[in-house]
């Protein structure tokens, strides 16, 4: 798959050479990464889909205000993160299906869960027990393998605070898995 440079996408959009092509390339390049980033936070596909679409619409409609002080990649993640956190905040009182419940359903459809499945299930349970912002930090670092500097751009938090948060999150998860391992 051809990986297109962010600068090239921005040129197509902002210089007006072919904005529609630029939008398509932008969505195509980041849709999966952002979808999973969102989905790890909200668990329901429909919610993640709504947030993802809103994120891209917001990005495209405000792309003129994007300043190259940060990378397009971290800007996209920041908007997706804010959209997700706003959604979680607004639907705090609503009962939503959690990631571990999805996992249980999925495991139930297969014959027998493997040890790997059980540990991943425990990992997801542990992640869901983390406070929202700690969960966000853990996901960005663990799943998206983002550098601390990029995480600082996304979350507008200091690198030191992010390191400490990730460290605490890892320790909590490890403890949970050990305590709940049969």
């Amino acid at each position: 798959m051809l990986v297109i440079d962010d600068t090239e996408i921005l040129t197509l959009i902002t210089k007006g050479t072919d904005p529609n092509k630029g939008y398509r390339l932008l969505v195509s390049k980041y849709k999966e990464k952002l979808y999973y980033h969102i989905r790890r936070m909200v668990s329901s596909h429909d919610d993640a889909d709504d947030i993802l679409q809103n994120t891209f619409l917001k990005v495209i409609r405000n792309i003129d205000s994007f300043q190259a002080q940060s990378s397009l990649y971290t800007w996209l993640y920041r908007i997706a993160t804010n959209e997700t956190l706003n959604f979680i905040k607004s639907s705090k009182n609503k009962t939503s299906e959690s990631l571990d419940q999805t996992q249980v359903l999925r495991m139930g459809s297969s014959d027998l869960p493997t040890d790997g499945d059980i540990i991943i299930h425990k990992l997801n349970q542990a992640i869901n027990l983390l406070p929202e912002k700690q969960k966000l930090v853990f996901n960005l670092r663990y799943y998206d393998e983002m550098s601390y500097q990029d995480m600082a751009d996304v979350t507008e938090t200091s690198v030191g605070a992010l390191k400490a948060s990730f460290h605490h999150a890892v320790k909590k998860i490890e403890e949970f898995i050990k305590d709940n391992h049969e």
């Binding site: 529609n20 939008y23 398509r24 969505v27 195509s28 849709k31 999966e32 979808y35 999973y36 989905r39 790890r40 668990s43 596909h45 889909d49 993802l52 679409q53 891209f56 619409l57 495209i60 990631l99 999805t102 996992q103 999925r106 790997g116 499945d117 540990i119 991943i120 990992l123 997801n124 670092r141 663990y142 799943y143 393998e145 550098s147 601390y148 500097q149 690198v159 390191k163 990730f166 460290h167 890892v170 320790k171 998860i173 490890e174 898995i177 050990k178």
Partner: protein
């Protein structure tokens, strides 16, 4: 700081070897073909701004004449404002002049009245000093001589008295006992 660029695997190796060995598969279910259709779904929503172009074009010559129209309106408005300012100034001037006029008139007229009043008062004092305090002692002829009373005034009073006497009910004014 070199720690900032450390890979996640290396960092996890230092703080939690348990997590280092785990699969990173999120294992969430995503509807089939979702990622191939979501792109069109998003981009179809971006067609909305294009709808603005469907708006009927402006009447012929509208845009060409627009700047002249605006300049004319601005100029008219400016004149209107100037006129209203002038009227306002005129009104204020007239009000000030009227106040000043009233003040001056009242000032001078009050002064005259006071002088006249004083003179009248002095005259009155002179007159009354010249006559006795008891009204019964006043000599009518003296009053006529000094021009305070005219003979016609007295005759009128006499005539009036006579007239009144004629209208008096003779029974009730009779001294005769009932």
């Amino acid at each position: 700081m070199s720690d900032d660029n450390i890979s996640v695997q290396d960092e996890l190796g230092q703080i939690s070897p348990l997590l280092t060995g785990l699969s990173k598969d999120t294992q969430v279910e995503v509807p089939k073909d979702y990622f191939s259709t979501v792109e069109d779904q998003i981009l179809s929503q971006l067609q909305l701004p294009k709808a603005k172009n469907i708006i009927e074009p402006a009447p012929e010559g509208y845009l060409e004449n627009l700047e002249d129209e605006i300049i004319k309106k601005v100029a008219d408005k400016g004149n209107g404002t100037k006129q209203s300012h002038n009227i306002f100034k005129l009104f204020i001037g007239a009000a000030v002049a009227a106040c000043l006029g009233v003040f001056l008139i009242s000032r001078f007229s009050v002064g005259d009245t006071q002088v006249n009043d004083t003179e009248v008062t002095y005259e009155a004092i002179d007159y009354f000093d010249a006559y006795p305090q008891d009204i019964e002692d006043i000599n009518v002829n003296q009053l006529i001589d000094n021009g305070i009373l005219a003979e016609e005034d007295i005759s009128f009073v006499i005539e009036e008295d006579n007239l009144q006497m004629e209208n008096i009910d003779p029974i009730f004014h009779s001294d005769a006992p009932f």
